[in-house]
């Protein structure tokens, strides 16, 4: 494989890994718990800015052409961890903002507004995060001490991304299969019933906000340390919409499903259109990508609302009279046959 092709491949793999971590975070919130968080992209952005600020060093570095607050240089895993923490804390704040019992769509609209405020502030406060130009020259982790060729380093980063993805996968699967995951699904499917059997719905939602926010923050940190730049243009509110598209198309609540959705929406649509010869006015294909994503969401919600790989129906085993494990549905059938 030529080195150009390898660079291309490593780029796609890292981007896919970043998107995977983000959609798993969003899936935990939207797919599993049923929270519509339209400010999700802000959490990814916050993670990216955190990692950038914690690696760039003081603002006077690099000839002082960028203006930002509190830059330091922390060693490798710390910026990534800090990004996760910042994502989690901001996500908790978002949860508190909509803690009042706002109708689901109303709360989502509030977060859309928060997302726009965040973009406007980051763009206009030039001393805060270097304004609309954004941060550049973010150092890549361990690159200075590893002494690798650029291509070798790119493959190293693929490995790093894969490792973080694996951790994220373990976390979301563990939560999904735990009693907490069941409680999350219960509060999504029927809030009143969930509350009536003693589940603390707002606490369950807060957990989903925090874990999803941490994953979003980590995904942003991984991305910024690879591409080296981060600007407000990278996290406008329609970007949240793209992640929602991935979750809806892939299959809400299904870890594998949303991964496939992410591959299709975040990677395939962008990469395939790269090879379509440019036609029409400038920017025609880019704009049409958004049209396609919009139409895909509508088509899936109409034709296949549960996505490509639907969340599997769960059967919970209860201990039977003879100690044998029986499913709830089997018991229901038994009762029906007894009464008839």
């Amino acid at each position: 494989m030529s080195s150009a092709a390898q660079f291309y491949l490593t780029n796609i793999l890292v981007f896919f890994g970043v998107d995977l971590i983000a959609v798993w975070g969003l899936n935990l919130q939207f797919g599993v718990t049923g929270i519509v968080n339209f400010a999700f992209i802000v959490l990814q952005a916050a993670g990216a800015y955190t990692a950038a600020l914690l690696t760039l060093g003081p603002s006077s570095g690099n000839g002082g052409f960028q203006h930002y607050f509190g830059g330091t240089s922390l060693p490798f895993p710390l910026p990534l961890i800090a990004a996760g923490l910042v994502g989690a804390v901001l996500s908790a704040l978002l949860a508190l903002l909509t803690r009042r019992r706002l109708r689901g769509d109303y709360a989502a609209m509030v977060q859309l507004v928060v997302s726009l405020i965040a973009t406007t502030v980051a763009q206009n406060q030039s001393g805060f995060l270097n304004g609309s130009a954004g941060l550049a020259l973010v150092p890549a982790p361990l690159q200075s001490i590893m002494n690798l060729t650029p291509l070798g380093y790119a493959w190293f980063y693929v490995g790093l991304t894969a490792a973080v993805c694996l951790i994220a996968l373990v976390v979301v699967r563990a939560i999904g299969q735990s009693p907490l995951g069941r409680a999350m699904r219960a509060s999504r499917d029927n809030e009143e019933t969930a509350a009536s059997i003693g589940l603390d719905v707002s606490r369950i939602r807060m957990t989903a906000y925090v874990v999803g926010g941490a994953l979003a923050g980590i995904s942003g940190a991984l991305l910024v340390q690879y591409i080296g730049t981060w600007a407000p243009g990278a996290w406008l509110y329609p970007e949240t919409f793209v992640y929602f598209a991935a979750v809806i198309v892939g299959g809400r609540g299904n870890v594998l499903g949303v991964a496939i959705g992410s591959l299709l929406i975040n990677i395939a649509i962008v990469e395939v259109t790269r090879y379509i010869p440019q036609f029409g006015p400038a920017g025609f294909i880019d704009a049409m990508q958004w049209v396609v994503i919009g139409l895909l969401i509508m088509a899936f919600l109409w034709l296949r609302p549960r996505g490509i790989v639907p969340e599997r129906a769960r059967r919970y085993h209860l201990a039977g009279p003879a100690g044998a494990s029986r499913t709830v549905s089997q018991q229901a059938t038994d009762r029906e046959s007894q009464t008839s």
């Binding site: 519509v36 903002l97 009042r100 706002l102 109708r103 689901g104 769509d105 109303y106 989502a108 609209m109 509030v110 859309l112 507004v113 928060v114 726009l116 405020i117 406007t120 502030v121 763009q123 206009n124 329609p238 919409f241 929602f244 809806i248 029409g280 006015p281 400038a282 920017g283 025609f284 704009a287 049409m288 990508q289 958004w290 049209v291 994503i293 919009g294 139409l295 969401i297 509508m298 919600l301 109409w302 609302p305």
Partner: protein
């Protein structure tokens, strides 16, 4: 002080455009219960329909009428073809919200694909003269924008209070089951409100483009949050609340722009909205609007 008065003028223009847009948005929400985030994309669409007609030599005021009528029909079509089928299938409210966002993104980007990102201005409107009075400085275009908004507000008020359709609209917004039990054909009222809100949306789009020197396919989209802010601030679904909300948002953002960094003016308006939502999710003027609205 003079800076304050000057910014008040800008605030009035912004508030005028916003009041027309927010009125349409909130009326439609009050009746159909759909938070239609595609609204601002339809404003842009209307603005460009008027632009196209204007370049064909049609007078700008005729363009405004035609664009408003076209948007009314498109808006009804959107409801009939997209929202209603999903609602009949029992789609949840957040799914409708995502669908409306999908429609909005698709429409905006279709416009972007075929029109491109460059700026436009209406060719038929160039000879703006400037008027000064009481410290305010307004161009003739801005005065016309304010006049249109005031006329539309008065017209809507008369429609809501003095016609049987208006009374049926208010009854349906208040309690659609009770309205239906009283013999009001609520499906018909829903169709009428989509037409009405589409017409207001179209008018707001053209008026918005008239009030800014150069518009792009993004200009309407930038207006989405102020519209939502005005509607929510006034107690969503409340027509008079939306007018008041528009006035507050418009004036607050432009007046604050005179005293702080102008690019932060949106932040002030939005921060106001977030505070209101934290303290009173039902909006500032829910009660006031209730008293004036319901008891007749």
């Amino acid at each position: 002080m003079s800076l304050f008065v000057l910014s008040l003028g800008f605030g009035l223009v912004t508030a005028s455009v916003l009041s027309v847009a927010a009125l349409g948005f909130t009326l439609q929400f009050g009746i159909s219960n759909v938070l239609n985030l595609a609204y601002s994309s339809f404003m842009t669409l209307a603005g460009f329909i008027a632009y196209w007609l204007n370049t064909q030599g049609l007078d700008i005021w005729l363009c405004l009428l035609v664009a408003a009528a076209a948007t009314a029909i498109l808006s009804l079509g959107l409801s009939r073809a997209v929202y209603e089928p999903f609602i009949r299938r029992g789609a949840r409210s957040f799914e409708i919200l995502i669908i409306s966002l999908a429609v909005g993104v698709a429409v905006t980007n279709l416009l972007l694909a075929f029109i491109g990102p460059s700026g436009f201005s209406y060719p038929g409107v160039q000879n703006a003269s400037v008027y000064h009075f009481a410290g305010l400085t307004l161009t003739s275009d801005q005065l016309v924008v304010i006049a249109i908004a005031v006329a539309l507000m008065i017209g809507s008020h008369l429609l809501l209070t003095s016609t049987s359709i208006g009374r049926a609209l208010r009854a349906t917004a208040e309690n659609s089951e009770l309205a239906r039990a009283c013999g009001i054909a609520t499906p018909r009222i829903t169709r009428i409100v989509w037409l009405l809100s589409g017409a207001l949306c179209g008018a707001a789009g053209v008026v918005l483009f008239l009030s800014i020197s150069s518009f792009t396919v993004q200009s309407g989209q930038d207006f989405l949050v102020p519209i939502v802010a005005a509607a929510v601030l006034g107690g969503i679904g409340q027509p008079y609340g939306a007018m008041l909300g528009a006035l507050v948002i418009g004036l607050a953002s432009e007046v604050s722009a005179a005293f702080i960094n102008p690019s932060d003016k949106e932040v002030v308006a939005f921060a106001l909205l977030v505070l209101v939502l934290l303290a009173r999710p039902q909006g500032l003027f829910a009660e006031a609007a209730h008293r004036r609205e319901v008891i007749t």
